[in-house]
């Protein structure tokens, strides 16, 4: 899988960025040596890039069509489903997860305390339930998502897949890949899917 990806990239002339671009090579060194020496090693792995991150950075999030298609295809292949196969969970759980913006902050100044709940932080970027007015606009409004699109198997699968790996549909989107990074578990994603598509969810009421 990985090898085919790299072979395809080589065919596109899309790798070799460091050899071709001396600034990128220096910038990588400067960036990586800029962190405190007492950051534990497992924190430092957060600076590693997979191929998608590397390509998105290289093209400033606007890759040419061929690279875009390649990223979307390889990201699609990463999607994993919950064991029981049910993609719609409990919208009430999803509602909580959509609101939680904590979790995952590291460092020495203001890290999240150990065990801090981690959520999808969807409101950082999206409008969802009408009653929550403190929503961001980095992503489109998802108010009435289910009301507008229904809850067919196809829509449900798309919604699950989108949250699991946003880049499967839009290479280099600003939306995180929640499932790929194990930020949310497949079960948690099914709850958020329910929050978006369940007719009883506040996203689709009022």
């Amino acid at each position: 899988m990985k090898n085919t990806f790299i072979a395809a990239l080589l065919a596109l002339g899309a790798t070799g960025i460091h050899a071709a671009d001396p600034i990128a090579f220096q910038a990588e060194q400067i960036f990586r040596s800029s962190f405190r020496a007492d950051n534990p090693r497992y924190w430092m792995t957060r600076l590693d890039q997979d191929e998608a991150m590397r390509l998105c950075s290289q093209y400033k999030d606007n890759p040419p069509a061929k690279v875009r298609a390649l990223i979307e295809k390889t990201q699609q292949a990463t999607i994993r489903y919950p064991v029981e196969g049910k993609l719609i969970g409990d919208w009430k759980e999803g509602e909580k997860l959509a609101a939680v913006g904590t979790g995952g902050h590291i460092g020495f100044i203001q890290p999240d305390p150990p065990g801090r709940v981690r959520g999808g932080n969807c409101y950082a970027c999206h409008q969802l339930a009408k009653k929550e007015v403190a929503y961001g606009t980095i992503g489109p409004s998802l108010q009435h998502f289910g009301k507008l699109r229904g809850n067919s198997d196809e829509i449900v699968k798309y919604t699950y897949d989108k949250i699991y790996n946003s880049n499967a549909f839009t290479a280099c989107t600003n939306m995180p890949r929640f499932g790929l990074h194990n930020w949310l578990t497949p079960e948690q994603i099914t709850h958020i899917v329910a929050f978006l598509v369940d007719p009883e969810s506040p996203v689709n009421k009022d």
Binding site: I23, A24, Q26, A27, I30, F31, S33, S34, F35, R36, A37, N39, W43, M44, R46, L47, D48, Q49, M53, C56, S57, K60, D61, G101, G104, H105, I106, G107, F108, I109, Q110, P111, Y123, A124, C125, E132, V133, A134, Y135, G136, T137, I138, N174, P176, R177, H181, N182, W183
Partner: protein, 268 residues
């Protein structure tokens, strides 16, 4: 601080800390604090303290900072901050206001770098000399135009390195600076995010630092701002005065060049 100002600030901080403060935009809220604070930005107190620290003989060499060269010659502070970061021939490095200040504390006053940077930011009940000094140095550029053309090859290189880092995505949320600051008119929750890739956006942002942050009850320097943004990106913690932060500052100041400084600022 006048007592009425203190109350106004506490109210402002409370209003901001609430889960949602109505439909009004953050900018309206900030305009309101500006009015409330018309008789004084709390950062001005820090500016005065910074001036005192600048002029006072201190450190093992019992020297003041008055001979410090912030880029325009020893002791020349007017407009210096607006032209930083820049290349310094004596250290052969591109330095920002903070790294240059620390350099002077070491070379002129005899502090070790560790002593000079031990409290590079304040905590409740624990003041930071660096914060005060940088607020003072920044204030000396109030009204000056940001001017970082990055013509020296080392500056040009750092601007490119900064641009590279700005778009570099990594971490468990796939974040880069650009995902939060690369588009017009976006906000995260209710916080408005400028487009730092345009002169207007970078100008609005960069011209108002160092800034008093109402939500933090403290002045933040640009290093503090960028190190916290890296925390928000869920990355590990950079070293204070790290080259990557200075490179980002060169990139941002170059983009912002031409904008008139209005510092110290006041922010959410």
């Amino acid at each position: 601080m006048q007592p009425n100002l203190r109350t106004a600030l506490a109210t402002a901080a409370l209003a901001l800390a609430g889960p949602a403060f109505g439909q009004g935009s953050t900018m309206d809220e900030i305009a309101r604090y500006r009015e409330m604070l018309a008789d004084g930005n709390p950062a001005e107190l820090l500016e005065a303290k910074g001036e005192e620290l600048w002029k006072k003989p201190r450190g093992p060499k019992n020297a003041s900072l008055e001979q410090c060269d912030m880029g325009l010659g020893p002791g020349k502070l007017d407009g210096a901050y607006a032209q930083l970061p820049r290349y310094f021939a004596d250290t052969k490095k591109v330095m920002d206001a903070e790294s240059r200040l620390v350099h002077c504390m070491v070379s002129l006053q005899g502090f070790t770098e560790a002593e000079a940077t031990k409290r590079w930011f304040s905590k409740p009940g624990q003041d930071s000399d660096i914060e005060a000094l940088v607020t003072y140095i920044g204030g000396k550029s109030n009204g000056a135009k940001i001017n970082v053309p990055a013509r020296h090859p080392e500056e040009a290189r750092m601007a490119k390195v900064g641009e590279y880092i700005f778009y570099r995505r990594s971490g468990p949320q796939d974040f880069s600076c650009a995902i939060c600051h690369g588009q017009e008119g976006k906000r995260i929750r209710l916080q408005e995010l400028g487009n730092l890739t345009t002169q207007a956006g970078a100008g609005t942002a960069m011209s108002t630092w160092p800034s008093y942050r109402v939500s933090q009850g403290a002045v933040w320097t640009m290093q503090r701002r960028l190190i916290d943004c890296m925390r928000q990106a869920r990355w590990p913690e950079p070293k204070y005065l790290a080259d990557s932060v200075i490179a980002l500052e060169v990139f941002l100041q170059k983009t912002a060049s031409g904008t008139v400084m209005q510092t110290p600022g006041i922010k959410r």
